[in-house]
C-alpha cells in the first residue's frame, strides 16, 4: 500500500511522515470523519490497516536481525582492541630484556651469572627498568631471549596449543572477504577504534529506527481497534446484527 500524503483532517501532530523508508502511521482524530473522507467502509479500512501492520512487522524483523548482528560485532572489536593494546604494552619490556640477554650470551663463557650481573649493575646504576630486569634474570635460569607473550589458543574444540608471540611492531587484521592486512600497532588501534565508533553510531540509529517503528505499530493497532469499535457501535445504532469481524491481534 502506498503512503498517501493526503487528508490533513486525518493526521495528528506527527513529527515525521516517514523515517528512512518506513512510512509513519497517520493518527486519526475522528474515525467517522476518516471513514467518510477516505471513502473506506469499515471492512476495507480494517483490511488496509491490518496489511500495514503486517508490513511493519516484516520491517521490524529485519531491524531486529541487524541489531543482533551489531550487538555481536561490538564486543568482537573491543576484544581485538584489547589484544593489540596488550601486545603494545608488552613491547616496551621486551626490548630491555633483549638488550641484557645479548650481553649475557656474549659473556657466558667467562663469567658466572652472578658476577656478570654485579658488573652490569655497577655500570648501569641509574637505569631503573634495567635493574628490575637484572633482578629477574638473577632468578631465572634461562639465558635465552625472553619472548613477549605466551598464549594458549584454541586449535579445535577442546584442543589448545601454545604460541610464543615475540615483540612485534605490526599486527594483522582480518578485514573480511578472505582478506587479512598487516598494520602497525598504532594504525591497527586507530582502525579498530574507528570501526568501533561506527558500529556504536549505527546501533544508535538502528535503535531509534526501531523505536519509531514500534510507535507506528502501536498507532496502527489502536486505529484498528477504534475502527472496529466504531463499526460495532454503528451496527448497534442501525439495529443490524454485527457480523463477525476479525479483531486486531494486539
Amino acid at each position: 500500500a502506498q503512503m498517501s500524503s493526503s487528508s490533513p483532517s486525518g493526521s495528528g501532530g506527527d513529527d515525521l511522515s516517514e523515517r528512512r523508508g518506513i512510512p509513519a502511521a497517520k493518527f486519526i482524530q475522528d474515525v467517522e470523519t476518516y471513514l467518510s473522507q477516505s471513502g473506506f467502509d469499515s471492512n476495507s479500512a480494517l483490511a488496509f490497516h491490518q496489511e500495514r501492520l503486517q508490513q511493519y512487522k516484516v520491517v521490524e524483523m529485519k531491524l531486529l536481525a541487524q541489531q543482533r548482528d551489531l550487538q555481536a560485532k561490538i564486543p568482537d572489536i573491543e576484544k581485538c582492541l584489547e589484544v593489540v593494546a596488550t601486545l603494545e604494552a608488552r613491547k616496551g619490556t621486551g626490548e630491555v630484556e633483549l638488550g641484557c640477554a645479548l650481553i649475557l650470551t656474549a659473556c657466558f663463557k667467562t663469567f658466572s651469572l652472578k658476577d656478570l650481573i654485579s658488573m652490569l649493575a655497577c655500570e648501569i646504576e641509574h637505569v631503573v627498568s634495567q635493574n628490575i630486569v637484572l633482578a629477574s634474570l638473577e632468578e631465572s635460569t634461562e639465558t635465552s631471549l625472553r619472548v613477549s607473550l605466551l598464549a594458549d589458543f584454541e586449535v579445535s574444540e577442546g584442543i589448545y596449543s601454545r604460541a610464543c608471540i615475540e615483540d612485534t611492531d605490526s599486527v594483522c587484521l582480518w578485514l573480511g572477504a578472505n582478506v587479512m592486512l598487516e598494520y602497525s600497532c598504532e594504525e591497527a588501534t586507530a582502525l579498530l577504534k574507528n570501526n568501533l565508533e561506527n558500529a556504536k553510531a549505527s546501533l544508535e540509529v538502528l535503535v531509534a529506527d526501531l523505536q519509531f517503528l514500534r510507535d507506528q505499530v502501536t498507532v496502527t493497532q489502536v486505529t484498528i481497534a477504534r475502527i472496529y469499535n466504531f463499526d460495532v457501535h454503528q451496527r448497534r445504532v442501525n439495529q443490524v446484527t454485527p457480523t463477525a469481524i476479525a479483531a486486531a491481534d494486539a
Binding site: E82, L149, D152, A250
Partner: protein, 129 residues
C-alpha cells in the same frame, strides 16, 4: 498491552495525547524488558569476576592464563589481579546504573498506567500477559 477491540463497542474518544501516552508506555515497557536482560547479564559477569578473583587468591602459580580476546595469555599473577579488580569495578558501576534506570522506568510506567486507566478504564489492558 492491548486495546480491547471487543469490549463495550462504545465510541471512545482517543486523542493524540492519549496515543502518545500509549506509545510512550509501549517504549518504556520494551526498554524495561531489555534492561532486565542486561541486568541479568551484568550480574552474571560480576559474579564470575568475583569467583575468578577468589580462585586467584587460592592459586599458587606465578603465571596465570588470562583470557584476552580469543586466546589465553600467560600473565603474571599480580597483573591479573589488577585487571580483574578493574573489570569488577567497571561491571559493578554499569550494574548500578542499569538498576537505577530500571527503578526510574518502573515509577514512570506506574504514572502512565494511572493516567491511561483513568481515561480508558476497561477498554485498555496494560498488564503483562
Amino acid at each position: 498491552m492491548q486495546l480491547q477491540g471487543k469490549s463495550s463497542g462504545s465510541e471512545m474518544e482517543v486523542t493524540w495525547q492519549d496515543q502518545q501516552n500509549i506509545n510512550t508506555f509501549s517504549r518504556f515497557n520494551n526498554r524495561f524488558h531489555e534492561l532486565e536482560d542486561e541486568i541479568k547479564f551484568a550480574k552474571e559477569k560480576c559474579d564470575n569476576l568475583e569467583d575468578a578473583g577468589n580462585e586467584l587468591i587460592l592459586a599458587d602459580e606465578e603465571m596465570v592464563r588470562f583470557q584476552i580476546g580469543e586466546v589465553f595469555a600467560h600473565v603474571p599473577k599480580d597483573e591479573v589481579e589488577t585487571r580483574i579488580e578493574e573489570m569488577k569495578e567497571a561491571t559493578c558501576k554499569t550494574l548500578e546504573k542499569l538498576e537505577q534506570e530500571k527503578e526510574s522506568l518502573i515509577s514512570q510506567m506506574a504514572e502512565l498506567k494511572k493516567v491511561l486507566y483513568a481515561k480508558f478504564k476497561d477498554s485498555i489492558n496494560l498488564e503483562e500477559d
